[in-house]
Amino acid sequence: MSETQTPVLTKKDYESDQAVRWCPGCGDYAILSQTQKTVPSFGRKKEDIVFVSGIGCSSRFPYYMNTYGFHSIHGRAPAIASGVKISNPDLAVFVVTGDGDGLSIGGNHFMHALRRNMDINIMMFNNRIYGLTKGQYSPTSEVGKVTKATPYGSIDIPLNPPSLALGAQSTFVARTIDRWQKHLSAMMERSYQHDGGSFLEIYQNCNIFNDGAFEEYTGKEKLDNVIELENGKPMLFARETKGIKLEGSKAIVVNMDDHSAEDLLVHDETDLDMAHIIANWTSNPQLPEPIGVIYCVDRPTYNQDMVDQINSAKEKKGKGSVQGLLNAGDTWVVD
C-alpha cells in the first residue's frame, strides 16, 4: 500500500455524477457520505481504488463513488473482488455488500475470501432485512420476524456476522453503526490499514422495511446497551458505571460500584478466543452489544503469496519460453 506521492483529494473528488437513489432517510446515505470523507485520508490515487458490489440496496454504492467500480451479480462481489486483487495487487479493493447479498446467496464467497486472507475490505451493511425485494426477512433477522414472506413470523435462527467471520479465519473483524459517524470513519480507516482481508459490519437502519432495528444502540438508551471496544482497555460501558468480567468462559456484567478496573476483562484484539467470546455477546440480551475492532492479527495474504510464488518460480526456472514449451517432450521430425 505504499505510495510515493500522496495526492491531495477531498470528499468532492469521490462523488460521482450519478444521482443517489436510496429512499430518503436510508442509513446508506450516512455511510456513503462518511466513505467519501474518509477515503481521501488514505492518500491513494483515485484511479487505484475499486469498489465492487453485488445486488441489493447497498450494492448501488459503486455508482456513487467516483472511482473504478463494479456493480455485479447477487452475492458474488467477494469473488469478483478477489479476481481484481489477484490481477493487480496494487489496487485498494473494497466490497460493499449487505446481510442478504453477503451472507445468504453469497455466503460461500464471503467465507472463502476471508479464509484466504485476500486483501480486500468487505463492508457489510446489515439492516437485518431484504430492502430491494421489498421487505422479506434476511439471514440476520431475529426469530419471529413478521414480513411479507413470514406472515406467521420467521422460524430461522439468525447468523451473527462477526462470529461467522471469525469462524472463517478472518484476520480483521469489526463492527460499527451508520449513525456513529466518527466511529464509522475510524473503523473504515482501521479496516483499510489492515494488511489482509477485513470484515467491517455496519449496522444500518432501513427506515422503510425495518425501521429502528438498531434503536437500542443509537437512541437515548444506547450507552447502557453498547460497549465500545478499545484495545488494551478494560471492558467498561454505561458511562463507566458497568463493566464485564469473565467467570470461567462466561462473560458477566458487574456494577462498578463494587468492582475495580482490575477485575474486568481487558480487550486484546489479537486474542482469538476472546474474540469469539465477545462476538457472541450479540446473541445474549444480558450483555451489551460489542462495537469496534473485535479481532485483528497479521497473517500472510493470498495475493502476496501468489506474487511470491510466481516470482520464486520465475527465479528458479527462469522466465518461460512458450516456443520452448511447445517443442518440449518427445518430438520427431517428418521430412
Binding site: 469473488a79 489477484i86 517428418v334
Partner: protein
C-alpha cells in the same frame, strides 16, 4: 523361431483391465512410442468415474484404445484387432467389440474363481473353449512371469505384481516392433529415486518382449510403416494439454497474464493442473470455492486487464450462467471452456458427449449472445483456444470454447506450431478520454463494435460497470426502452461481426453432390474418415466441418444448400441439426447416438449408404 513379418497399414489395440491395473499408463506408453516411430495415431481413453471401483468388478474396468497407421487417420478406430484383457471383467466388457478373428492377450493369473464369479462368468472362458472359435486367444500367466523375473529384487510381491501391465506392454512392443528405450527413459524420470521400481518395470517389460519372442504363441509380427504426414516437427498431444498451450500462446502474443478461475471438474481439471505448473510464465491460477467463483473471479480479473479464463464441464456452465450474462453486458473479454461430458446432471462424468451446444448458445437469461467455437481434434484444441482468446480481447466479449472428453483425453501426432506464424493479438488498453475530455466506456469501435478496455489504475478513466442495462456510450444505468432495444441489437451485432474473422469454409470433396456430411466438434475425425471411405467407393459425398458455431460462417448457408442430402452426425439428439435447419431451411437429417462414446466412422458410412439407398 520362424516368425514372419507382415506389413500392415494400420492396427487398433485396446488395453483393458481393472482400474488399479494401470491401463491408462500402459496405453500412454504405447502411444508415445508409436508417435516416436512416426505413425499417425489417435487414442481413446475410456475409464470409469469411480477412482477405484471394487477390484475385479465390471464397473471398475478401465480401457485405452489406440489406432495407429502409416496413413493419415482421424479416429481411434471402431473395433480393436487386439484386446489385452488383464482380468475376467475386462474380457467380459470388451470381448464383444473385438473384430472376428482378432487376438486376445489375457492375463491367465487373474482368472480365479472369485474374479470369474465377480465378472459374471459361469464357467472359465479360458477353459471352456467358448472363445476359441472366434478369436486367437493367447493366455499368459503374467503374475507368475513377473514374479519369477523380479525374484532377485528387494520388492514386496504386491509391488512386483503391479508390473504386469509393463509385461503386457512388452508383449505388444514385440508384436508391433516398437523400441523400448523411450519407455526406459520415462521410467527413470517418473520413478526417480525408486530404483527397485524402475528396475522391476523395466524387467517386466523386457520379460514380456522376450516371452513373445520365444513362445510359439506368436507366429506373426506386424510392421506399420511411418506415416506420410506433412513435413515438420511433431509431438504427440492430447486435447486438454493443447488447450492449455493455446491459452499460454495467446498470453505471450497478447502480452497479458493469464488469470484462470476454476473449480475442479472431470474432464476439465487437467487444464487447471497444467496451467498451475506454469507459474514461471506469470500464469495466475485460482482454485475457487465453486464454479460461480471460478467465473466471477475471472470476470474481476478481466475488468482489471488479465487474459481471463474459466474452465469447466457442462454442470459448471449451468452454474456459471448468470455470470456469463454479466460478462456479456459488461462487455469484458473472457474465455469460457466447456470440456463436455455426458449429461444431464452428473450424467457420465468420464464419458464424452456433444450435448452442451444448446447450453452454449442459449443457456442464459435474456438475449445473451456470445461467440462459440468448437475444437475439431485434440491438436486443434490449441488453435481453438488461441482463437477464443484473440476474439475475446478484440471484440471485448466472453467466448465459449467447446471441447469434449474424447478430445480432451484423446491424443494424436501434432505438428508443432511456430509462435511467429500465429495471428497477432494486439491489445490496446484505453489510456485517455475518448470524447471531448470525457471517457465513455461504451463508445464503440466502428469496425468491431467493441468497447474500450480501461483498467483500474488508469488515471482519469474511472468508470463504473455492472449488470444493469447500460446507456449507449456513457454506460450509465438506463431503463430507457429504446436504449435497451438498441443495446440488445448492438450486443448481437457485435457477435455477428466475428463472421469477418472466419476463414472461407473448406469442403472435403465436391462443392455439390448427393450428400454432405456436416459435422462440428469432436465428430470431425469419424466424419472425415467416413467421407474418405465413401469417396473411395465412388459416392458423391462431401464433408464440411464447422468450428465457429456462433456466429456461423458466412458461406455455410449457400454450401449446405448445394447437396441433395445433408447428414449431421452428433453425440446428442440433434442440437446442431436444429440450428442448421432453422438457419438455412434445409431438410438436414441427423445421426444421433448418445452412448458416451465417439460415433464410429463405420456407423456414419452405413447411415450414408442407407440414406442414399
Amino acid at each position: 523361431m520362424g516368425k514372419t513379418f507382415k506389413t500392415i497399414d494400420e492396427a487398433v489395440i485396446r488395453f483393458a483391465g481393472d482400474s488399479g491395473d494401470g491401463m491408462q499408463l500402459t496405453g500412454g506408453r504405447f502411444t508415445d512410442t508409436t508417435a516416436i516411430v512416426g505413425n499417425d495415431l489417435s487414442t481413446l481413453p475410456d475409464f470409469p468415474a469411480e477412482i477405484r471401483a471394487p477390484a475385479g468388478s465390471l464397473a471398475g474396468v478401465s480401457a485405452f484404445q489406440i489406432k495407429f497407421s502409416s496413413k493419415d487417420i482421424h479416429t481411434p478406430g471402431d473395433k480393436p484387432d487386439v484386446l489385452v484383457a488383464m482380468n475376467p471383467a475386462a474380457l467380459k466388457v470388451h470381448q464383444k467389440e473385438l473384430i472376428p478373428g482378432g487376438t486376445m492377450i489375457v492375463n491367465l493369473d487373474a482368472f480365479t474363481k472369485k474374479n470369474l464369479a465377480f465378472a459374471g462368468y459361469d464357467s472359465n472362458p479360458m477353459e471352456d473353449g467358448s472363445l476359441d472359435d472366434y478369436f486367437t486367444v493367447i493366455p499368459i500367466e503374467m503374475n507368475k512371469m513377473v514374479t519369477a523375473a523380479c525374484a532377485d529384487l528387494d520388492l514386496s510381491p504386491k509391488l512386483v505384481g503391479r508390473t504386469k501391465n509393463f509385461f503386457a506392454l512388452g508383449v505388444l512392443f514385440y508384436m508391433y516392433d516398437r523400441p523400448m528405450e523411450a519407455t526406459e527413459l520415462w521410467l527413470k524420470k517418473k520413478f526417480a529415486g525408486k530404483d527397485a521400481i524402475i528396475k522391476a518395470n523395466s524387467i517386466a517389460m523386457k520379460t514380456g518382449y522376450n516371452y513373445a519372442h520365444t513362445t510359439e504363441l506368436f507366429t506373426t509380427r506386424f510392421k506399420v510403416e511411418k506415416a506420410s504426414l506433412p513435413p515438420g516437427k511433431y509431438r504427440n498431444i492430447n486435447g486438454n494439454y493443447a488447450t492449455s498451450l493455446g491459452l499460454l500462446a495467446a498470453s505471450e502474443k497478447s502480452k497479458l497474464n493469464i488469470f484462470l478461475g476454476s473449480y475442479p471438474i472431470t474432464p476439465a481439471s487437467d487444464i487447471l493442473h497444467t496451467l498451475s505448473s506454469w507459474k514461471h510464465f506469470g500464469v495466475q491460477t485460482f482454485q475457487a470455492e465453486d464454479e460461480i467463483a471460478g467465473v466471477t473471479s475471472a470476470i474481476g480479473a478481466a475488468y482489471t486487464g488479465s487474459l481471463s479464463v474459466t474452465t469447466t464441464s457442462g454442470p459448471g456452465i449451468a452454474l456459471k450462467g448468470e455470470a456469463l450474462g454479466l460478462a456479456i453486458i459488461t462487455e469484458l473479454p473472457l474465455v469460457v471452456i466447456n470440456v463436455q461430458r455426458g449429461g444431464p446432471s452428473t450424467g457420465l462424468p468420464t464419458k464424452t458427449e456433444q450435448s452442451d451446444l444448446n447450453q452454449a448458445l442459449y443457456g442464459r437469461n435474456g438475449e445473451a449472445p456470445m461467440p462459440v467455437i468448437a475444437a475439431a481434434t485434440p491438436g486443434d484444441c490449441f488453435y481453438a483456444a488461441y482463437e477464443a482468446c484473440r476474439i475475446a480481447v478484440k471484440y471485448m466479449t466472453p467466448v465459449m470454447l467447446l471441447t469434449d472428453g474424447y478430445l480432451a483425453n484423446g491424443s494424436e501426432p501434432w505438428m508443432i506450431p511456430n509462435m511467429d506464424e500465429l495471428e497477432p493479438i494486439d491489445v490496446k488498453f484505453a489510456k485517455k478520454p475518448n470524447a471531448d475530455g470525457d471517457y465513455l466506456p461504451y463508445l464503440r469501435d466502428k469496425k468491431t463494435l467493441s468497447r474500450p478496455w480501461a483498467i483500474p489504475g488508469t488515471k482519469g478513466l474511472e468508470h463504473r460497470v455492472g449488470g444493469i442495462e447500460k446507456a449507449e456510450n456513457t454506460g450509465h444505468v438506463s431503463y430507457d426502452p429504446e436504449n435497451h432495444h438498441r443495446m440488445t441489437l448492438l450486443r448481437q451485432e457485435k457477435v455477428d461481426k466475428v463472421q469477418n474473422e472466419i476463414a472461407p469454409t473448406e469442403v472435403y470433396g465436391e462443392k455439390s453432390g448427393d450428400l454432405l456430411i456436416l459435422s462440428w466438434g469432436g465428430t470431425f475425425g469419424a466424419s472425415r474418415s467416413a467421407a474418405e471411405t465413401l469417396q473411395e467407393e465412388g459416392f458423391k459425398v462431401s464433408h464440411i466441418h464447422v468450428r465457429w458455431i456462433s456466429p456461423l460462417p458466412k458461406d455455410l448457408g449457400k454450401l449446405v444448400k448445394s447437396y441433395a442430402n445433408v447428414l449431421v452426425p452428433e453425440i446428442n439428439l440433434g442440437q446442431f441439426l436444429r440450428l442448421i435447419r432453422a438457419e438455412y431451411l434445409v431438410d438436414a437429417k441427423g445421426l444421433n447416438l448418445v452412448r458416451g462414446r465417439p460415433i464410429g466412422a463405420a456407423t456414419i458410412v452405413e447411415k450414408v449408404k442407407e440414406t442414399l439407398g
